[in-house]
Each structure stands twice: as structure tokens, then as C-alpha cells.
């Protein structure tokens, strides 16, 4: 299968602002058949998309709570339907927050424990490699990617974490350059250094770091590109 036969959708909410960056990576770097999905557009058949990315940004200004208002938008019904049918959804940063607020992933985001916006490079330890998002990465790999967020302090109640452990839902943890999930390497206070999780059916993933900002050598790291490469590999293998 040629990459241009793979159809990727990028949702656009008022205030989304990483949509262009994700588009550039999918369309120009990986050569996928990429299009935007405006939050108000009636999507007759979302299932024609091989996967959908909810990009970062400040949907609805991130007012009230990050991601909260976008998660109540009309398009979420179609997205939930898409997800229920096994569709692959990747939520990046604000997209992750939207997935949480919409209940498509478990847990919630609190303000960074620094109470400040944090923009910097972080290291991620890859905990799972048998998912559509990591099948081209080896478990235990350490990836370098930038973060840029104000509310990335992942929180979930005890029972959710227990389920996570049972089902293997934690997919990325913040770590130091040696792969240790230390307190110093946790940029926002996230519970258990959680940087990314995957839903129970392994078709929905959210992460705070930005793979689209680390998919080219010129950007200082190509590690994020492996997430997109994994998705492409998975779709081709289906």
C-alpha cells in the first residue's frame, strides 16, 4: 500500500493551533492523504478515515478547563462513534485533554505543579510496543520530544490506576536520559510520571508531548516520527 492511500483526518476546533504542524508532518513528510475536519462539519462517514488526530492548541481558549468545551462539541458524537467502531484516534496535548474530558480516555488534567506553562524537551520511556501507535518502536526505548502546555499534570483516582496496571494502559512515562522515571524528569507533576495513555481497546491514545514537533532532523529530534511511522505500519498491516 502506498502512503498516499492512507487517509488521515485532523480535527479543527476554534482555537486549535497545532493542526498545521500535524498536517505538514502527515501530508508533506509521510505523504499521507491528509485532510482537516472542521468541528461543525457534518461528517457522513468518519469511517473512511484510517485514523484521526486531535491536535494541540487552545480549543475554546482552554477556558473553564483545558479541552472541556471542545469535548462537548457536536463532532464528539461522531468521534465517539468512530472510536466505538475501532477507529484509531491520536490526541496530542490539547487533543489528549479533549479525549479525557470527553471520557474517551480515563483520568483528568490538572494545572502543572509549577503553575506555569512549560515548554522544553523531555524524555519518554516507551512501556508498550504492541499498539497501533508504538508498533514500530521497541519497548524500553527512550524518545526525546518537546512539551508545551500549562495543564499536563495527569491525575486519576486509585481504581483507575489499578485498572491501568492490570490492562497495561500506560504507554509513555516521563524519564531521565537513562530511562528512569525520576521526580526531576517529571515536568508537570503527573501521577506516576504518566505522559501518555492508551484506551482499553488500544485504539485511542493521548499524550502530552508533541510528536509532530520532533519528526524531522532539522527540529533536533526525529523520535516523534516513530509514532506516525507506527500508525502507518499498523494500517498497512491490517
Amino acid at each position: 500500500m502506498n502512503n498516499n492511500r492512507i487517509k488521515a483526518g485532523i480535527t479543527v476546533f476554534p482555537g486549535s493551533n497545532c493542526d498545521f504542524d500535524v498536517y505538514y508532518v502527515l501530508n508533506d513528510i509521510f505523504g499521507l492523504n491528509t485532510s482537516y475536519i472542521w468541528h461543525k462539519d457534518k461528517i457522513n462517514d468518519m469511517r473512511s478515515y484510517d485514523f484521526i488526530v486531535i491536535p494541540g492548541g487552545f480549543s475554546y481558549g482552554d477556558y473553564l478547563r483545558s479541552g472541556a468545551l471542545a469535548a462537548r462539541g457536536l463532532i464528539m458524537e461522531s468521534l465517539k462513534d468512530y472510536a466505538a467502531n475501532g477507529g484509531i484516534i491520536l490526541g496530542i496535548c490539547n487533543g489528549f485533554q479533549i479525549l479525557l474530558e470527553a471520557g474517551l480516555l480515563a483520568g483528568a488534567m490538572l494545572t502543572n505543579n509549577s503553575l506555569r506553562f512549560e515548554c522544553k524537551d523531555v524524555y519518554l520511556n516507551v512501556l508498550k510496543d504492541d499498539t497501533p501507535f508504538t508498533c514500530d518502536i521497541k519497548k524500553g526505548s527512550i524518545l526525546r520530544m518537546p512539551i508545551a502546555h500549562h495543564d499536563g499534570n495527569y491525575f486519576a483516582a486509585h481504581d483507575i490506576i489499578q485498572d491501568f496496571n492490570k490492562n497495561d494502559n500506560i504507554i509513555f512515562k516521563y524519564c531521565d536520559s537513562a530511562g528512569e522515571p525520576t521526580e526531576d524528569s517529571n515536568p508537570n507533576g503527573s501521577l506516576l510520571n504518566i505522559a501518555g495513555i492508551i484506551g482499553e481497546n488500544f485504539n485511542i491514545m493521548g499524550l502530552m508531548p508533541h510528536p509532530e514537533r520532533s519528526s524531522e532532523k532539522l527540529m533536533g529530534s526525529e523520535d516523534g516520527g516513530y509514532i506516525f511511522k507506527s500508525i502507518i505500519k499498523y494500517i498497512k498491516g491490517k
Binding site: 473553564l64 478547563r65 472541556a68 483520568g107 483528568a108 503553575l115 499534570n153
Partner: protein, 99 residues
């Protein structure tokens, strides 16, 4: 209740607070500022949201299933579904006539 022209307007006030077991880093930060400013008798600070909704009772609301709401039910729904995140927050509603 008060009338504005022909309309019946009410106000609902929704308080949204983080649950006890969720760390309130903003509250903690304010507490430390208060302490360092000499307000030593402040023992704890918690910060939530206060949301004022102005409601026009004349417009009937129907739920998705077509049943008519009372205003109380509607505010309850809005508070639980949109204004707060039940995983981390709890809310509290007060309804007043428009002042």
C-alpha cells in the same frame, strides 16, 4: 422571581471545587504567599470556580429525549456535564431571582 419586560429571569450560581483528595496546587501557592506576607493564621486555602448563569425561564427546554426539564434539572445537568469534571471536581448550586 423577577420579570424583565415580559420575561421571567432567574440566576443560578454554581460553585465548582476540586475534590478534597485532589491536590490544589493553586491553593497551596496562595497559602504560601499569604504565609510569607505574615498572615500566619491562615491554615488552608482552596480555590474553585464561581459561575453565574442568567436563565430565561420563558424558553422551554427539552432534553434530547423530548422530555421537558425543570430549571433545577437543567442547571444540575449543565453543572455536571459541562461546568465541572466529576473525576476531580464537585459542584454546588444556588438559584436566586435576578437582582
Amino acid at each position: 422571581m423577577s420579570y424583565e419586560g415580559e420575561k421571567m429571569i432567574k440566576k443560578a450560581f454554581v460553585k465548582v471545587m476540586l475534590k478534597e483528595e485532589v491536590l490544589d496546587s493553586q491553593g497551596k501557592a496562595v497559602l504560601s504567599v499569604l504565609k510569607s506576607s505574615g498572615y500566619n493564621n491562615v491554615k488552608d486555602v482552596r480555590i474553585g470556580k464561581y459561575i453565574e448563569l442568567t436563565i430565561d425561564l420563558d424558553i422551554l427546554n427539552k432534553s434530547a429525549e423530548g422530555k421537558t426539564y425543570t430549571m433545577e434539572e437543567e442547571i444540575e445537568e449543565i453543572s455536571g456535564k459541562i461546568l465541572s469534571n466529576p473525576l476531580i471536581e464537585e459542584f454546588n448550586i444556588e438559584i436566586k431571582n435576578k437582582k
